[in-house]
Symmetry: C2
């Protein structure tokens, strides 16, 4: 039930009181991994149509050249940069994922912090601490109302992300507890974003707003812009309006002991997570059989695999992201499962189309959602089997640091093969010893 | 129940198809009255602390001097102007009110239209038509989920206002039906605003955003930024997330036949509506008895008057707006019930305090909410009676055109006694014959 429990106050206290020294080493390292993954997905999405249209429109109103737009030479004001970089990072749903809430936590938080770091002097450890706390606060706020909040239609990355951005930015500008509550209040009244908009440009607006408005909430609070004492659990607050019956213990229990960023996964492939173990099998087999002619593929997996992705007939890049037939066919044809395998042109590639019709999906409740097996029949009549008990990127089989570096390298090269991304990779690993990270985002802009 | 009824499409069709010639004359005139009232409340609120802090903050990020900030010489970009003028107009809750939904319809719509009119050439009839349609769409969207939506905690002026601003601005930029649906979709995913924030600066943010984001939704749609086909009634759309079980017939029945702007009231006093008939009585008596010493006041009214406003001990301007004791005392002391009677200093004025303790409230279910009577005892022992069956500003006793002009004059003089507001008043009454309204808002800026 809803209570006037001081839950916002307790979050504010945690944000304000936590110091870099309080963070365990693995959590600090995970924050760098989240930042690496963020730059990869932000580079991947930065020149897509929704981001391009929004950028041109915002440029009409923007005054500053304060902050970096990832992947672009043009700079823009800090609020708009936060918007654009968040919108771009989430456009392919290739982000990190907090699996218990399905929040993509870094997309709304990191862009707000990076834009702020171009306005004020911010050290690398402070940046990582703010990212850890921002991710923590939004995940905990979302946990209390999951899965009902998302089922109701809320795009939880947006609706909770605005709190994460406000918390992280509030930490960077050193708000006191009272002002941190105000920042979360001003964030609460901007919380929005509907799943109905998924698959359209409009989806990018709520993610962008989460970053922009979270940043702005912190800046307003710094200037004395007040809010209510209990915006989350108050009688007419966030949870009452947007959350049914929250379990507030999930917001506050174990604060400072467990870290939600440790429950974050990074995707190796830009498609539905249930397809991932299938791709692991197919790509592994393809390495050994690059030129074999495939006549049939039987995919076996958890019923969700069939329920969500048994789509042999699709025609757009976006649909291809939730078609196991497409994913398998494109991976077999190209030997890859990156962004270029999930484009409109890939969805219409005659070779891929031909193979798509040869892929069958078998429901098998014996499999977990992160497991799958495939049987590939080749023209010589042989049947080849591969299985994956735990998909790459799942919690028990996380991407390695090298995998994340490779993901960033691939994304950077996708736009500009000459873009030397090594300095960004080095800078991320060295963040905790940097005194000024104002130049970090600009390393995600190709030179010349 | 929720249905995929094409309700958004039907609204879009209505917005696109309706012409100035289709609007009945009284509706056209009411739009001018709404505009008059808007400028009054916008001038009243334009220099309050929340608007000031927001303006200074936005100015850091704003590039343009595209649009007028009401009451100020400094110009700002159009999106920020829409935000600031909406936030200012709603800060005192002195706006027009659509009583069935308690939406303050013009605050989020007019500022978006006026900012747009400084970017593009817009005629006066087009401006009024866009205002009428914007108010229509947001009121109808809100009607379908009233009163449950507001009770759930949604600040309905904000949450529905963003649709009104998008509809009105979409009309001004001549979106086709498909793009109008997109604009409403991008608006839907920005719909937000919590009543928990009422009484704090944070409240102004959601109202400002409604105007800014509605305007931006229309501009994005114009550029091809797409959205879902049914953002309102879709399975994960606005109504499912924010509205329980909507009565969709209230959205679409009688479109083009009835006009919601005709169900809008304008407030004569900046305080709770149930106090208004009491003030009518007191001010009427005070005119005839300007120097009498009052020893006791008995107020009689509907039980809501007592429930909501029986607050003899208050200490802030905001609290004073919902204290019948304060309103009566301040009106007796000063002979007025304007903004200066509901400030912090008025709430602490010793003369007002002394009189406040002499005001008693009697619950009487025989009264309607718009009726009241008072018995005023003077030092000579005489008892004076006054009664008001229908408060000024109520639907059956609306403010006259002259009342609205006076409201605007008083608001303008409140900031700058030298501000000649006559040109603005003349321009509003002549709007339908103006070919270019880009200079309208600037008439609400004192010269020099």
């Amino acid at each position: 039930m809803l209570q006037e429990s001081g839950v916002t106050q307790r979050l504010a206290h945690h944000i304000v009181a936590t110091r870099w020294e309080d963070i365990p080493l693995p959590v600090k390292h995970q924050a760098k991994r989240s930042m690496m993954n963020f730059f990869a997905v932000a580079l991947a999405g930065c020149r897509t149509a929704p981001v391009e249209i929004a950028r041109r429109s915002l440029a009409e109103f923007s005054g500053g050249r304060q902050a970096t737009v990832i992947g672009r030479a043009e700079r823009i004001d800090a609020l708009s940069a936060a918007f654009l970089n968040a919108a771009g990072a989430n456009v392919f749903d290739f982000c990190d994922t907090h699996l218990r809430t399905v929040i993509h936590p870094t997309a709304p938080v990191a862009p707000a912090l990076l834009a702020l770091a171009e306005l004020r002097q911010v050290g690398g450890a402070d940046l990582l601490l703010a990212l850890i706390l921002g991710n923590e606060i939004q995940a905990r706020i979302g946990l209390a109302i999951s899965p009902g909040h998302y089922s109701r239609g809320w795009h939880i990355t947006s609706s909770c992300g605005v709190f994460g951005a406000a918390a992280g930015c509030g930490k960077l500008v050193a708000l006191d507890e009272r002002r941190m509550v105000w920042a979360l209040g001003t964030a609460s009244t901007q919380s929005s974003g509907l799943c109905e908009c998924l698959g359209t440009a409009a989806k990018s607006v709520s993610v962008g707003n989460a970053a922009r408005n979270g940043l702005w909430s912190a800046l307003l609070a710094e200037q004395g812009f007040d809010g209510p004492p209990e915006p989350l659990a108050g009688a007419q607050g966030f949870y009452h309006a947007m959350g049914e019956t929250p379990d507030l213990s999930l917001v506050t229990d174990g604060l400072g002991e467990s870290w939600q960023i440790m429950a974050t996964s990074y995707k190796p492939y830009p498609c539905g997570f249930v397809i991932h173990p299938v791709l692991d099998c197919v790509l592994d087999w393809r390495v050994d059989n690059p030129v074999a002619e495939v006549t049939r593929v039987v995919v076996r997996g958890h019923p969700l695999l069939s329920d969500r992705t048994d789509r042999p007939n699709i025609s757009t890049g976006r649909e291809s992201q939730v078609s196991v037939q497409h994913a398998v066919a494109a991976a077999l044809v190209t030997g890859k499962a990156g962004l270029e395998q999930f484009t409109d042109s890939s969805a219409r590639d005659p070779k891929v189309l031909a193979l798509r019709s040869k892929v069958e999906v078998v429901r098998d409740p014996a499999f977990s959602t992160i497991a799958a097996s495939v049987e590939i029949t080749t023209a010589d009549g042989k049947i080849h089997e591969r299985s994956q008990p735990a998909a790459r990127g799942s919690e028990v089989n996380p991407l390695s640091d090298a995998d994340l570096e490779a993901k960033l390298r691939t994304a950077a090269a996708g736009w500009d093969p000459c873009h030397d991304i090594a300095p960004l990779i080095d800078a991320i690993w060295a963040l905790d010893s940097s005194a000024d990270v104002s130049g970090l985002a600009s390393l995600a802009v190709p030179k010349g």
